[in-house]
């Protein structure tokens, strides 16, 4: 039991810090650069992202392990996961609009952006590839979500300062953001070797 618990803890740490999706795997850069201009939007995006990631990890785990593995059609996982996630996001969009309109107006715009995002797709794919158990899949989804939230919030706080900085003209805007991302990625390599599985 204890070893299972440590494994889950390690998974969360590994997914959020050591193998951070943005800074070491370089996934989800589109949303990362699009949303990290303001702190407010990046916090909203982080919350939505983490929630969708966990739910989609859980749902796709069930579909993968109880339907696709017995039927021996695991090679379809990419296309199926895309469909599952898109359907899930669409459903939660519809339900949220009715049940919690306040939350919908705050986070609804991010939901549409998420539906075909590569990190959201990567989490179930890695879960399937690594043969994680259900709890481990959830932990991996949570860790990835937290890692993405961390990346977004770090980037948003830096970019809010960058707005006022005297940046050379060719570097203004996106180029500067890419340079900053590279530097943060460099800093994140310091986490490697934190856990040896």
């Amino acid at each position: 039991m204890e070893s299972e618990f440590t494994k889950i803890f390690e998974l969360i740490i590994s997914a959020s810090l050591i193998n951070n999706f943005v800074f070491t795997r370089f996934l989800g850069l589109c949303i990362f650069f699009g949303v990290s201009k303001k702190m407010e939007t990046s916090v909203g995006m982080s919350i939505t992202f983490t929630a969708v990631m966990m739910v989609s990890a859980a749902l796709s785990w069930f579909i993968f392990n109880y339907v696709m593995v017995p039927l021996d059609i695991t090679f379809l996982k990419i296309i199926v996961f895309i469909g599952v996630i898109a359907g899930l996001v669409q459903a939660s969009d519809t339900i949220m609009r009715k049940v919690v309109p306040g939350l919908y107006y705050k986070l609804g715009i991010y939901l549409a952006l998420i539906s075909t995002n590569c990190i959201i797709l990567a989490v179930p794919l890695i879960n399937a590839g690594e043969h994680y158990s259900f709890i481990q899949s959830l932990a991996f989804g949570l860790g990835s979500g937290l890692g993405f939230a961390l990346a977004l919030i770090i980037m948003a706080s830096i970019r809010e300062r960058l707005e006022l900085a005297d940046v050379p003209v060719p570097f203004r805007g996106l180029p500067m953001a890419f340079v900053v991302t590279g530097l943060i990625a460099l800093a994140f390599t310091g986490f490697s070797g934190l856990i040896t599985l």
Binding site: I73, F75, A91, I95
Partner: protein
């Protein structure tokens, strides 16, 4: 339906006949990655793939359809229509968070006026009023007015500022580098705040408002740390473009075009519109008739006239020779004998429009306020004839 099933069965049968299920499949590439294997049973594979994909598609389709029905939110179709009329700038000039919120409010709440979207203009106000069944009152257009003319060449500085090129940052450095603490700093924060691209920094580090694009959304007014920008009705085109509350002597030292509170505008104004308060002349917009007399009288040129070229007054043959215009003209441009047609000397006339407004028979035309005066006279006439009929 039966036919489709039969066709699928036929295809599967053909595949079995061809006995492709026992063909050797290449070692790599089947499914890729961990699923790669030497031998694949094509027929059950295709069968289960089709069934699985159709099944998952059906489950999600039914699920989404159910969710859409069960959790349907009733949206008033008028909200969409109203939203299409608005400017989609999300500027907040209406007082709501965004265009959607205003559209919802104007449809659902009978007290919300249909003309609050200033950027979309009067046409949109009419359309929104039509959709919501409200009465359209056309709002007078508002424009940003820069209440400072002291560009960097016309004003002095207390120190050299070399920090971040932004007014809000410059203010943190001891209130800015200008000697005049009320003036425009000229680092362009307002131009960057404008969502309509209507504000640009001019040559002398002063913002210039593009009247064709300005919608009066007040974004610049909020952004300016010195509160130099005021949003005023478009018709009130004569303003004291200075906010300095310094004493006259200090203003003169700091800036060539500041208001020194000399009071000449107060004396020259026929309508008592300007008032001197706190060493600053302020024009009362309710009284101002935009005649522009104070513009010429101001010794420091602190008063600005936004009417580009003032057309001169012309006497038409409706004139009855009452001589009222000769009495009201502040520059003595109108002249004429009693009972004979008068004339206005165009070389003296400044186009203030006072005689147009005062003429009892609306015989003077050509000034900027002609249309307004004629409309008012027509309205009066109609009111007089209506009770009689």
């Amino acid at each position: 339906m039966h036919e489709i099933v039969r066709i699928i069965a036929d295809v599967l049968g053909l595949l079995q006949l061809a006995d492709i299920s026992h063909f050797l499949v290449p070692h790599v590439g089947v499914g890729g990655g961990v699923e790669a294997r030497e031998h694949v049973d094509i027929v059950p594979l295709i069968k289960w793939t089709l069934i699985f994909l159709a099944g998952i598609g059906a489950v999600f389709g039914v699920g989404l359809a159910f969710a859409a029905k069960r959790f349907a939110v009733k949206i008033d179709p008028r909200v969409e229509q109203v939203k299409d009329c608005l400017a989609h700038a999300h500027c907040g000039a209406c007082g709501y968070a965004g265009c959607e919120q205003y559209a919802e409010a104007v449809v659902n709440n009978p007290d919300v006026a249909p003309n609050l979207c200033i950027p979309a203009g009067s046409k949109a106000a009419e359309a929104v009023a039509l959709i919501t069944g409200k009465k359209a009152v056309v709002m007078e257009p508002l424009f940003s007015r820069i209440m400072c003319q002291g560009g960097w060449s016309k004003s002095t500085k207390r120190f050299t500022y070399e920090g971040v090129q932004d007014c809000r940052a410059a203010v943190l450095a001891g209130g800015g580098d200008k000697s005049c603490v009320f003036g425009c700093l000229g680092y362009g924060t307002c131009a960057r705040a404008c969502p309509f691209d209507a504000l640009h920094m001019g040559n002398d580090h002063l913002p210039v408002v593009d009247m064709a694009k300005c919608t009066g959304c007040r974004k610049c007014e909020v952004a300016c740390p010195k509160k130099v920008i005021e949003v005023l009705p478009g018709s009130k085109a004569v303003v004291v473009a200075c906010h300095s509350k310094d004493k006259g002597g200090d203003v003169r030292k700091n800036c060539q075009v500041g208001c020194i509170a000399c009071g000449k505008c107060v004396k020259v104004c026929p309508f008592d519109a300007p008032k001197i308060e706190n060493n600053l002349s302020k024009i009362d917009l309710a009284r101002c008739r935009v005649c522009g007399l104070c513009v010429g009288a101001c010794p420091t040129k602190a008063i600005v006239d936004f009417i580009p070229a003032r057309p001169k007054a012309v006497v038409t043959d409706k004139c009855i020779g009452c001589q009222i215009c000769t009495k009201v003209c502040p520059v003595n441009a109108a002249s004429g004998e009693p009972k004979k047609m008068h004339a206005v000397d165009t070389s003296i006339c400044i186009g203030c429009g006072i005689c147009t407004a005062k003429c009892p028979v609306q015989a003077i035309e050509g000034t900027f306020n002609t249309a307004e005066v004629l409309a008012a006279a027509a309205a009066r006439k109609q009111q007089k004839t209506a009770p009689a009929a």
